[in-house]
Amino acid sequence: MKIGKILTIAGLVILSATAVAGRVSIVPVEINLNEDGSGFARGNMTTARYSDNDVEFIGCGTRNTALGDGNLFQFAFCQGRDAADNPIFCSTQNPELVAAVRAIADHSFIIFTFDAQGECTLIGFSTQSSYLPRGDQEDKN
């Protein structure tokens, strides 16, 4: 019986190991600035979330405010911070970019560019299996 239990546990360990196979893409947050203040930032949300520092993050969002007269003020933003604690932000009222931000899914790879005024000029994302968290990555918070 004891041998049986050991074999069972060993089998489960082997099976669980195969469950975390597959390509994993690690893309830490990267911020690239030009002299005029424009630039780009990119990174994988999962990589940032499970990095070994407590400052790195990247993401985008929208804000929608009802003006009370039937109109809506909405804008999108992207923000991030690299491992060196350098922040980056951009915002835009472009309705097409706002719509693009709404389509960003969890665990996405995000890239955004901005001009010298902090206006987002490009917002892109990619949802791939390689960006998903590994089985051994748990939210310890």
């Binding site: 405010t65 003006l67 039937g70 109109n71 003020f73 915002s91 009222q93 206006e119």
Partner: protein
């Protein structure tokens, strides 16, 4: 008795006179409404040199002019009502505060951003309040203040997040 008779005759005469005068005025109005529409050059309203009383000017508005004015008013009202899909154009229905009030609000928001820059950080709730203030500005103000806030955060002057 004789005095009463005289008074009743006079009263009857006045009534007949008023009645005939009102008939004459109605005929005159009917004649004016059937005439061709007056041009602006001939219209006493638009003629600065015409020596007409205001009563004459108002009586010169014929039916055609009235119809045109009413049609223009209705067209103007229709442009301010929602279209068939329920959306209302911001330029037609949004009525921003006066220019002076807008400038005041813009200055207030700008000062708020500068305050947070001096403090060095902004909390999440303060960010929400600030975004509500930005939302109340006009289009140009929102763009300007949103950029100002973004630049302040990018420069590190304000430690916070959207």
């Amino acid at each position: 008795m004789k005095a009463l008779t005289i008074l009743s005759v006079v009263q009857t005469g006045l009534l007949i006179l008023l009645f005939s005068r009102s008939i004459a005025l109605e005929d005159e109005l009917a004649t004016r409404s059937q005439s061709a529409p007056a041009t602006t050059a001939n219209n006493p309203i638009f003629s600065p040199t015409a020596d007409n009383s205001s009563r004459q000017a108002y009586s010169s508005i014929d039916e055609g002019q009235l119809r045109r004015i009413i049609r223009e008013e209705l067209d103007g009202h229709a442009s301010n009502t929602p279209n068939t899909n329920g959306q209302v154009s911001q330029s037609a229905s949004y009525d921003p505060a006066t220019a002076a009030e807008q400038q005041y609000q813009l200055d207030q928001v700008s000062q708020r951003i500068e305050y947070f820059s001096s403090v060095g950080n902004i909390s999440d709730m303060e960010m929400v309040d600030l975004q509500m203030e930005i939302a109340r500005l006009d289009d140009a103000g929102r763009t300007a203040m949103l950029r100002k806030l973004t630049q302040a955060m990018n420069s590190g002057a304000i430690d916070g997040r959207f």
